[in-house]
């Protein structure tokens, strides 16, 4: 079960990162680009809880920091997504959550991730951070994350039930 779960989550994460940089980011979006990898981490956290959420967030973040064309500091996304995965996994205990709650939480996580990335960048002396753009990026990322979660969260839940039914205790 553990292996099947790891393979499932690993495939989801790799697919999400690839789609984010190769398909979504090249299109002309307003301000931010849709944070698909973050939404998948959120969905996994909702389904499997905080421990799996944190581990998934860490692995996804390391991947996001390393996959070309990433040029930022390795570990920044890992730190942020670890906290996102842990936090969203902790908020509720049941695996059946109504969609307004998951959507709202994912949107908040999308926005917080932008602010956290900017703050960490500023802290580490990254000359690229431009604070005047952070508010619009935060709003855009939150909206995109919320919209993506409407599709991604049910999808991840459905696939997880299919592949690892034991995790749901029935």
């Amino acid at each position: 079960m553990a292996i099947r779960r790891a393979v499932l989550i690993g495939s989801l994460v790799v697919l999400a990162v690839l789609i984010e940089v190769s398909l979504l980011a090249p299109l002309p979006w307003w301000s931010a680009t849709p944070p698909l990898a973050l939404v998948v981490v959120a969905a996994v956290a909702f389904v499997f809880g905080s421990v799996t959420g944190a581990v998934t967030g860490f692995a996804t973040g390391v991947l996001v920091d390393l996959v070309p064309p990433a040029e930022g500091t390795v570990g920044v996304s890992a730190l942020i997504l670890t906290l996102v995965g842990y936090g969203l996994g902790r908020v509720f205990d049941s695996d059946e959550r109504p969609w307004p709650i998951t959507t709202g939480l994912t949107a908040v996580a999308g926005g917080v991730a932008v602010v956290a990335a900017a703050a960490l960048g500023g802290l580490l002396g990254d000359p690229r951070v431009r604070w005047e753009e952070v508010p619009s990026m935060t709003v855009a990322a939150a909206v995109y994350a919320g919209i993506l979660s409407l599709v991604v969260v049910p999808l991840v839940r459905w696939v997880s039930r299919r592949v690892v039914p034991e995790a749901f205790g029935r």
Binding site: V21, T33, E71, G72, V74, G75, L79, M137
Partner: protein, 291 residues
């Protein structure tokens, strides 16, 4: 209660691991322990990104065509593109003329800065939330790409390669806030340092000569680096939009509009070699007049 403690422990371990990675990457720089990780990831994910781009390129085209609905908009876009092409042709003609007038006319030989390029397609773009302007292209070391090569598109200079995998490379665009390039004003030949601002439509150029004449509309081309790395000379960068002469500062700053549109790059060329098509002959010194 035990579960919560275990979760907290795992969280603490992962946070520490993240911070360790950050420190390793920041301290290590280009040769740190993170670099092999990056290379390995590029080797694995480059081909995957190529595959995803190839498989889904019809979707991108569909989105493009939907967003360009209406014949008028298409016509305007086509005319704007043509206008831009013509303007660049006119501007760069001035560059050639100035160079010819300066040195090559004296020698009687036309120097040609023909460059050999490897064409490549953009296969991934860094998320805007990362604040970095980088793209991944589908050409790598097996195509002869090396770190620190100029990358151009139809408009002008786009950036330079910063890391190269077997069949993909990462390009740091000139508009990235950490990018700099040597620039030269075509015509007056004043030199300066062109820096990215992080905004796609703005570059700044610090002129080394505080008294240099610089006008709105002047064309800036690359000054060229030693051995043509990372930048080969004579590639158009952008047009001067405004000049802010800060009193008290030793240099003047010009704001440039880049020729290459960083927001919508699809096809680029990596300059792998610069050739001199016409050899320069030696002009013997005139015989001193006998007295």
């Amino acid at each position: 209660m035990k579960d919560v403690r275990r979760a907290r422990l795992i969280l603490a371990i992962l946070v520490l691991a993240s911070i360790t990675l950050i420190v390793l990457d920041l301290r290590g720089g280009g040769s740190g322990p993170i670099q092999p990780l990056r290379s390995a990831t590029a080797a694995v994910f480059g081909p995957l990104e190529r595959g995803v781009t190839a498989a889904f390129s019809p979707i991108g085209r569909l989105v493009d065509s939907v967003s360009q609905l209406g014949d008028q908009q298409v016509r305007i876009d086509a005319l704007e593109a043509q206008n831009e092409e013509l303007r660049i042709a006119v501007d760069t003609a001035g560059v050639d003329l100035a160079r010819v007038a300066e040195l090559d006319a004296l020698l009687g030989l036309a120097a040609d800065t023909a460059v050999d390029i490897v064409p490549a397609q953009v296969i991934a773009v860094g998320p805007a939330q990362g604040f970095a302007w980088t793209v991944a292209i589908d050409a790598g070391s097996i195509d002869g790409i090396e770190v620190g090569m100029s990358v151009i598109n139809g408009g002008g200079l786009l950036g330079r390669t910063v890391s190269v995998g077997p069949d993909t490379s990462t390009v740091l665009l000139l508009v990235d806030a950490t990018s700099t390039a040597g620039g030269r004003l075509a015509g007056s030949s004043q030199i300066g340092i062109v820096s990215g601002t992080g905004r796609q439509d703005l570059l700044t150029m610090q002129l080394l000569d505080p008294l240099a004449a610089i006008d709105v509309g002047d064309v800036v081309v690359t000054f060229g680096s030693q051995g043509g790395r990372p930048f080969v000379p004579g590639i158009p960068i952008g047009r001067v939009e405004s000049v802010s002469g800060t009193p008290g500062q030793l240099t003047r700053v010009a704001n440039l509009v880049p020729y290459a549109d960083a927001s919508r790059v699809t096809l680029v060329g990596v300059v792998v070699a610069q050739q001199r098509t016409e050899p320069r002959g030696v002009i013997p010194a005139p015989q001193p007049a006998e007295q």
